[in-house]
Symmetry: C2
Subunit: 478 residues, 2 copies
């Protein structure tokens, strides 16, 4: 158990009692800045696409790269095999009496396709406009690596850390972290910590450090509609055969009503009402629909009626099509009646929706609306529970001070529309609070072509996290 | 003008007055059968995919191959450039007083994709179960080539033809014959004929020779829905941005009502009622829904309520999706909110629907049902008018006799759900009746993987056409 945060005094305070970045750590990070960037670029060059088995060797190589980089800074690491991609765990437990922190990140990345939309190659990091462009730059290699370098600043400068540290890096975050929960369960003792820190999210705006209070969950499906056994000539057969592509379109069109509400029966049953105070705070954040419209290039926003944009993004569930494929998609006109049609569909979930329950509802709904003459299957590819935290306790207080020190601004509390499936697992299995402090930015193109991470945020992130350990270390531990 | 068919006496009659295959032509075709097959295979090996500009050189090569094969048999040919793929025309006009026939075919083929569904490579003709498997085997290289060989049988055996012949082979049939109508218009004099013969269709059933009385027209569209300017993370942005894929699905779902009728306003306005006698004859054809279900591998048939299957296929219009593409379609789960979604959509038309009018109706409908927040464009890729013939006159009578001679059965009169856009153009520009006599078979996979042509039909087709020229030549000409 950690002591009360009221007793805390950070290691570095200005005359006005405000935390600053410790000068020795600042100097180390400044002096080593070019080398640190080179190392990051090396990491980003490894195409560790976990979803694509063609990249299994690359994903393995990324795990080894992380292990070596931990070993080198003095946090001895091991690679643990799983039924999927391996987990890397590094440990430094030489701060007796100090609290123990578990730092989590992932070394796998999203597939880079469509490749033709990248300005520079996805696995050749390129700096333009003070942004590091590369697949994985912000999600999550850059953010995982800034933690490694924050630890290095302590160990290289002082030969020790103010807290005990366990670093865990997995290789399956982008495909649902299938084997992580059981790994954490099995290695509960190894991973025991007073707090978990994760940087795999974004700040609310440039210069505005942010702590996340909620994440949406996920239920990801693939829907396949099989019509005739092979593609047919649309002239010779069209009119008498049920077209699986049209059938799929009709199924997808039933997922929402005209107000943008999800029309799958029972979908909202478990949605917990949000605290009016939280909704009020969200409305006070400096957010402008026009900025989002400009950023994404759309003329009007959409979604569920009756909610603000931030509410739609953070505290309301969704049902989106992520991909569609059927028939002829090349140049010109091919008159084919396709044999099959496929849609990738995913629902973002909010407390207390459960992916397994959503799977049942989705399957029942699709079975009900599927037209005769085609065979429809719904496969649940993966799911993750939604998460919400109250943000009370020493790790949160230390984080507020460290972020203020690095960014010069009081952090804001935000929500996040995306999912980090393991957050709930860590909390449940380790019984430790989870601090989600991310250094991405709006428009960073995570999961899209031209993903980038702000160079400045990479630098300030290292400083904030280096400062955090002094702040958190000063709180002591059980 | 041709003389009345009542005066006709064919060159070869049995004692019972029935036409038979002339013995000299039969012998030539038998003796040369292996060589003829080798030549056909050579033709089928050329991947003349007109829709794909990567294959432009191959398409050109196919045109040259046709020219050479006509030159070699004694029908001197020329290649005529167009703004697209060239037209090959061969001429033999040494039958003074005899009628002139224009034989039309096309040397271009459909794209072979999806390649992984072919049992043998699409451009390496392979015989299995007495079927010639190859892209273009039946559509239309095999059928064009059997005409060339029927002419060769006459010229090689007798040094002459009983009719004047013009052979025209185009390279844009699979992409809408964009430049053919204007070519025919410009070369009206060169192409002047008393009848046009086209083999680019199928027999009603194995062993049942067929003459086509109607074709459906076509209006082929590509619909593009643009949402955000680039792919977005479906977690970070999902819920506030209109998903273009979902928008496309909702648009497509408005194309039909629950009875399978097309719900685009005005779509049926120009549909001409069919003669009850024709509908009665169609119902008398040996057709079984179960055979179609088995052939296509579907459990129930679909389409417009209130019509028989043959009516749905031949005399009723359709609106089909031919292809869909959006977002992530690879292995696994990628949580992307796609920037755009594309559908290929084509309508089969029946007399007197007009592709240009259908284009207007489609565009107006899509504009009306398109949701806000996305930009929807409808591009009309190509169109062709529907066609219907009365089948009276010497070319039809001669064809009935020649088909009976080759197949031993009275030909049936059928409709065809597919489109041969040039049929109407020939009729209109040349003022000549068009005989559509095809040697494909149900299930031949035209426009699909594993396209095949029956070896037997290829052989009997050559014989029927060789016999046809004797029969038709005996009718004389103006």
């Amino acid at each position: 158990m950690t002591k009360s945060s009221k007793a805390v005094r950070g290691a570095s305070k200005t005359a006005r009692g405000n935390t600053t970045i410790p000068a020795d750590l600042e100097r180390f990070l400044s002096d080593n800045d070019p080398r640190i960037h080179n190392e990051l670029f090396e990491f980003l060059r490894i195409p560790s696409v976990s979803a694509n088995s063609d990249h299994n060797a690359d994903t393995r190589r990324a795990a080894e790269w992380v292990k070596t980089s931990l070993d080198k800074i003095g946090v001895p690491a091991k690679i643990y095999p799983t039924a999927g991609h391996p987990v890397v765990v590094g440990e430094w437990r030489n701060a007796p009496g100090g609290p123990t922190v578990l730092i989590y990140g992932h070394y796998d990345v999203q597939p880079p396709e469509p490749l033709e939309l990248w300005t520079s190659p996805p696995f050749e990091p390129t700096v333009r406009d003070r942004k590091i462009f590369a697949r994985g730059s912000v999600d999550d290699k850059g953010q995982l690596f800034l933690h490694v370098k924050a630890l290095e600043a302590h160990l290289a400068t002082r030969g020790k850390l103010p807290v005990n540290v366990v670093v865990i890096a997995e290789g399956e975050e982008e495909i649902g972290s299938e084997h992580l929960a059981s790994f954490v369960e099995e290695q509960k003792k190894l991973l025991k910590a007073d707090a978990v820190v994760i940087s795999d999210s974004s700040m609310f705006a440039p210069g505005l450090p942010s702590i996340l209070s909620s994440l949406r969950g996920l239920a990801y499906f693939e829907i396949n509609v099989q019509g005739p056994k092979s593609d047919l000539h649309s002239g010779s057969y069209g009119g008498a055969i049920v077209n699986p592509t049209m059938a799929l379109a009709r199924i997808l069109a039933t997922f929402h009503d005209k107000d943008g509400r999800i029309a799958i029966p029972g979908f909202y049953k478990k949605v917990r009402a949000w605290d009016p105070k939280v909704r009020k705070q969200m409305r006070s954040l400096p957010f402008d629909d026009k900025t989002l419209m400009k950023e994404t290039g759309v003329a009007v926003l959409g979604g569920e009626k009756g909610y603000t944009t931030l509410e739609k993004l953070w505290i309301r569930p969704t049902c989106e099509v992520n991909g569609l494929l059927s028939g002829y998609t090349g140049e010109g006109a091919k008159t084919v009646l396709p044999a099959r049609a496929m849609a990738k569909v995913s629902c973002r979930l909010v407390p207390d929706q459960d992916p397994a329950e959503i799977e049942k509802l989705m399957k029942a709904h699709v079975a009900k609306v599927a037209p005769k003459g085609v065979k429809v299957t719904v496969q649940h590819l993966h799911g993750g529970r939604p998460w919400r935290a109250e943000l009370n306790g020493p790790i949160y207080d230390a984080a507020r001070r460290a972020l203020r020190a690095a960014f010069g601004k009081e952090p804001v509390i935000t929500g996040e529309g995306g999912s980090i499936p393991v957050v709930g697992d860590f909390e449940r299995i380790l019984g430790a609070p989870v601090l989600l402090v991310g250094f991405g930015l709006p428009g960073e193109n995570a999961h899209a072509p031209n993903e980038w991470m702000s160079e400045e945020n990479f630098r300030l992130g290292m400083r904030a996290m280096a400062t955090l350990w002094d702040e958190y270390g000063a709180t002591g531990s059980s």
